[in-house]
């Protein structure tokens, strides 16, 4: 009776991370880009937890805890930014927000 190989978790995490990256590059709606970023963060969390089990080390899970806190804070501020930008531009589509190229 063996159990689940750790590598399965890592592969799952890799798939989720890649999907997140694709989402960031492809989607035009900034909220959905944000969600893709959350997806990436979650994939990384999964990796951390998998390793914490493998190495029998609690630090991995502590770190995941902290990552979640930070993710929450980041979402709060980020959405605040999006709201402010929406007020200014009346749009949430990234290709209309091109200030970086003057």
């Amino acid at each position: 009776m063996h159990g689940i190989p750790i590598s399965y978790f890592l592969i799952l995490s890799a798939i989720l991370f890649s999907l997140g990256v694709i989402g960031v590059i492809i989607r035009r709606n900034v909220i959905i880009v944000f969600m893709s970023i959350e997806l990436m963060l979650n994939a990384v969390n999964l990796t951390f937890v998998a390793f914490s089990n493998h190495l029998n080390n609690i630090e991995g899970q502590i770190f995941v805890f902290l990552v979640m806190v930070v993710a929450a804070a980041e979402v709060a501020v980020g959405l605040g930014l999006i709201v402010a930008m929406f007020r200014l531009r009346e749009t949430v589509h990234l290709d209309d927000i091109r200030l970086l190229k003057w």
Partner: protein, 169 residues
Amino acid sequence: MLQNILFFVFAILAVAGAVMVISFRNPVYCALSLVLTLFSLAGEYVLLLAHFIAIVHIAVYAGAIVVLFLFVIMLLNIRREERAPGSIKYMVYLGVPLGLVLLYELVSIGFREFTDVYVKATDIGTVEKIGQALFSKYVLPFEITSILLLVAMLGAIYLSKQKLEIVSK
């Protein structure tokens, strides 16, 4: 045996949810797909014997963050996303291959190193153990995160505020 099956169930659900997040045009559908993914991941955490993390994951992410997302989507009244104009729609042809290459690279690492290691029985995922660690060894990061949250709150308030009119009475 049961664990393996459960793993694959949760895994497929998670991946399906992720694919839906990046595919749907309607942002509300995307948010809901994200919830699906998050729940599946919580199941995975349980399979890794990280119970505390699993619960906190659901409470924070699905309970707070996704709700926040939905709030903002409703507030800003975001409609369906139209087809990208001009040359930007070809970003798909750039992004998907990039992502696939990334996947390949990450997977080759995964397959190489850890093929014979299995999930072990351990008690470090329990509430007691995490509580002990958080309040003894990692109390400083713990407290700092509270400050972090305070700052984030301030930031969010300031950014989304309307202009105040000071009415002198």
